[in-house]
């Protein structure tokens, strides 16, 4: 049954090869564009950005956003447990407790480091 997937492997392969060859060729033969070229601009398609792209958003925003992602994603481990809560029993509770304790240490760290304070 695996041979059915053979075309996919080949697709993967041909895609990688063709893409790779084109890139290597253009990299080797094309003119050298150094740093700070168009490739760095926010919209490489040529749209001229209006205003200063570097209007600063407070870095705390990013930190908070990153922290949110981290803690948010850990929830994925809670869903399967919640579904199977009954079947897993006390052992499940113990394991999940341990998992949460580790998360809590992370939380305490973030809190004590002041990452949660807006000022």
């Amino acid at each position: 049954m695996l041979t059915e997937y053979l075309p996919i492997v080949f697709l993967l392969f041909v895609g990688l090869v063709v893409g790779g060859v084109i890139i290597v060729l253009s990299w080797r033969m094309g003119p050298r564009t150094r740093a700070l070229s168009i490739g760095d601009s926010p919209y490489e398609c040529g749209l001229v950005p209006t205003g200063d792209a570097r209007s600063r958003v407070d870095v705390k925003f990013y930190i908070l956003a990153m922290l949110f992602i981290l803690f948010d994603v850990e929830i994925v481990f809670l869903f399967p447990w919640a579904i199977m809560f009954d079947a897993l029993g006390t052992l499940g509770i113990l394991v999940m407790f341990e998992f949460l304790v580790i998360l809590l240490v992370g939380y305490a760290y973030v809190w004590r480091k002041g990452a949660l304070e807006w000022d």
């Binding site: 492997v9 080949f10 392969f13 990688l16 090869v17 790779g20 890139i23 290597v24 990299w27």
Partner: protein, 652 residues
């Protein structure tokens, strides 16, 4: 039981290493001067005891061994730290500890200007060298032999670069080490092939079964022996891996005497002799050994003739003499090769130490053009050097005569007249360049500075006593190997060393064995003729040297200058000289210079050593050119690797 105490022999110098290395600065120069030589002296005493113990046994039972511990044990593979004392290794042990002891004593005087720290460091290295060399000669398997082999290389490297303030010394040390690694590479491959064929690397397993496991003349025997010989070529400075030895003279002179003349460089000869059972299965390799030996002997002798640095002359002389030893083992005259190894250790160590004494007296001067007339100021050095020079020139009844002549005779006897002729020519050259050195140094008038003349002095007793002892050995050392041709006329004096070594080489060629055992044997008249020839050649060389550098000291100098033909024709007296110059000396000098400047420095040094380096450096540049520092390049190379592997799997 003597066998239980074998470990003491290497352990004593090792103890010296520990004491000098760890406490050297605390016990001071006095303490170091006692411990350093003392430990080696004690090792000599134990070796002597073991030797006597062996000698008291029946010839077949002359083997002692001691297993200290199992070093590596991996599956079928076992290598032990185990020592073997048989006639061959006992001989070498005596040479290493005996000559080593004398050189240690000498060093106490020679190095007395060093500060406390340098002094302790020097003796630590020297003791370490002795330890490694003993491991090398006493090992009972090839792997342990290799350990000693690497160890002596390491010490050699450390001692060459001892005075490291000098950049040239450091480079020389590095060169020695790297050239030796090339040799070691061959050696290690040889050991692996051997392990593949025999399933063991112990002498006791490999050597007796060589004849059954290997086909005589087969490819396996050929490659094993060839690879081992590559190792020997590196360590014993033969063509084409000899380039490091002349440079190695940058180290202190006693080091040159011990390592680069008497012991380490002869390890290759020992190794070939030790594995003679393998070489007997590979006659083609033996022929290569003999050929390279003879070629090196002649080649190095020609270069030795035009050197002006006293130690360089001796260095090329050592290479040349090592060539003799390989010629000997190459014609399956293993005992003769070892015999020459022993006598050479005596007289060459003495020559180096004598040269050291001269250099010491002249405060570091090594150029013979600025010496001369030192006979009066350095009487002990003079007389002992005379003995050594006569010995190396091959004048009977000194040591060199017997051993060299034995090799020459066995070469002829084995049916190699060409190699014999090369050997004979080399003997003449040896006499020529050695007496050149001798006359330039001790005779004539002093050519150094007035200040040097004021400070001329004979060396202290710690230096002259070893000189005297070695001088005596250079005179009588050859008597242990008096060939039957002379021995029988003297009333049955036996060839002691051949019969002593006979049990080790017993399974060599049957004809050789009979010969070695000293059985009554019809002496072909040819042997006397050859003997006479080599004495005549040696005398000729001495006379020529006397004429060129003593009677007419201006002559060799003028040879090198541009010559005015008209002026020379005027004088009848010079006419003969001119002819001689034109026909013999000038082409010869040109050839020597060619060999030295072009082949030695240009071709081998520049092309082989330097060229390899250049190729590697170029490769290195190419490799790191890819390392552009830019992430896109890295990603691309990475991706190229992925694609290559996928291509292989999906289409390969």
């Amino acid at each position: 039981m003597a066998a239980n105490w074998i470990w003491l022999v290497p352990a004593l110098p090792l103890a010296g290493v520990l004491v000098n290395g760890l406490l050297g600065r605390r016990i001071g120069k006095g303490g170091v001067s006692v411990i350093g030589p003392g430990m080696v002296g004690a090792a000599f005493a134990v070796s002597l005891w073991l030797f006597l113990d062996l000698a008291a046994r029946a010839p077949e039972a002359r083997t002692l061994s001691q297993n200290v511990y199992t070093w590596i044990s991996a599956g079928d593979f076992r290598a032990s730290v185990a020592f073997l004392v048989d006639p061959l290794s006992a001989t070498l042990m005596l040479v290493v500890t005996g000559v080593g002891f004398l050189i240690h004593v000498y060093s106490v005087g020679y190095m007395h200007d060093e500060d406390r720290r340098g002094f302790a460091r020097y003796f630590t290295y020297l003791n370490l060298f002795t330890f490694a060399m003993l491991v090398l000669v006493m090992a009972d398997n090839f792997l342990l032999l290799f350990v000693g082999w690497e160890g002596v290389g390491l010490c050699s490297y450390l001692l060459i670069g001892f005075w490291f303030k000098d950049r040239a010394n450091a480079t020389a040390g590095k060169k020695a080490f790297i050239v030796n690694r090339i040799g070691d590479f061959g050696f290690l491959l040889g050991i692996f092939l051997m392990f593949g064929a025999f399933g063991s690397v112990a002498f006791a397993d490999v050597l007796p079964s060589a004849a059954t496991v290997l086909d005589a003349g087969g490819p396996l025997a050929f490659w094993i022996c060839l690879f081992l010989f590559v190792g020997a070529v590196g360590k014993s400075a033969q063509i084409p891996l000899y380039v490091w030895l002349p440079d190695a003279m940058a180290g202190p002179t006693p080091v040159s005497a011990l390592i680069h003349a008497a012991t380490m460089v002869t390890a290759g000869v020992y190794m070939v002799a030790r594995s003679h059972a393998l070489y007997d299965m590979a006659p083609a390799v033996l022929a290569i050994v003999a050929g390279i030996g003879a070629a090196t002997a002649l080649y190095a002798a020609t270069i030795g003739l035009v050197q002006t640095d006293i130690k360089k002359v001796l260095a090329y002389s050592t290479i040349s003499q090592l060539g003799y030893m390989f010629l000997g083992v190459g014609v399956a005259a293993y005992a003769a090769g070892i015999f020459h190894l022993v006598t050479h250790a005596f007289f060459k160590a003495l020559l180096f130490l004598g040269a050291g004494s001269v250099i010491h007296a002249l405060h570091g001067e090594q150029d013979m053009r600025r010496m001369g007339g030192l006979k009066r100021a350095l009487p002990v050095t003079y007389w002992t050097m005379l003995a050594a020079t006569l010995a190396i020139a091959g004048i009977p009844p000194l040591a060199g005569f017997f051993s060299k002549d034995e090799i020459l005779w066995r070469t002829w006897d084995a049916g190699h007249p060409v190699l014999w002729a090369i050997g004979l020519a080399t003997a003449g050259l040896t006499a020529l360049y050695m007496f050149r050195l001798f006359f330039l140094t001790f005779h004539g008038s002093f050519r150094g500075t007035g200040e040097q003349r004021q400070h001329l002095h004979e060396s202290p007793p710690s230096m002259t006593i070893p000189l005297t002892v070695l001088g005596a050995l250079s005179v009588v050392g050859g008597w242990i190997g008096i060939p039957p041709a002379i021995g029988q006329t003297l009333g049955g004096v036996p060839n002691a060393i051949e019969s002593w070594l006979a049990p080790v080489f017993a399974d060599a060629h049957a004809e050789g064995a009979a010969h070695a055992a000293g059985e009554a044997h019809a002496i072909p008249p040819m042997e006397y003729a050859l003997m006479a020839a080599s004495i005549a050649v040696a005398l000729l060389g001495i006379l020529a040297a006397r004429y060129l550098w003593l009677t007419r000291p201006e002559l060799p100098v003028r040879i090198g200058l541009q010559f005015r033909v008209a002026a020379t024709v005027l004088s009848n007296k010079y006419y003969v000289d001119e002819l001689y110059d034109a026909i013999v000396v000038r082409p010869y000098n040109a050839l020597s210079h060619f060999a030295w400047r072009v082949i030695d420095e240009g071709l081998i040094d520049g092309l082989v050593v330097g060229g390899t380096g250049a190729v590697v450096r170029w490769q290195s540049r190419v490799s790191s050119a890819w390392q552009s520092g830019a992430i896109p390049t890295y990603v691309t190379v990475f991706f190229g690797g992925v694609v290559a592997i996928l291509v292989y799997y999906l289409f390969g």
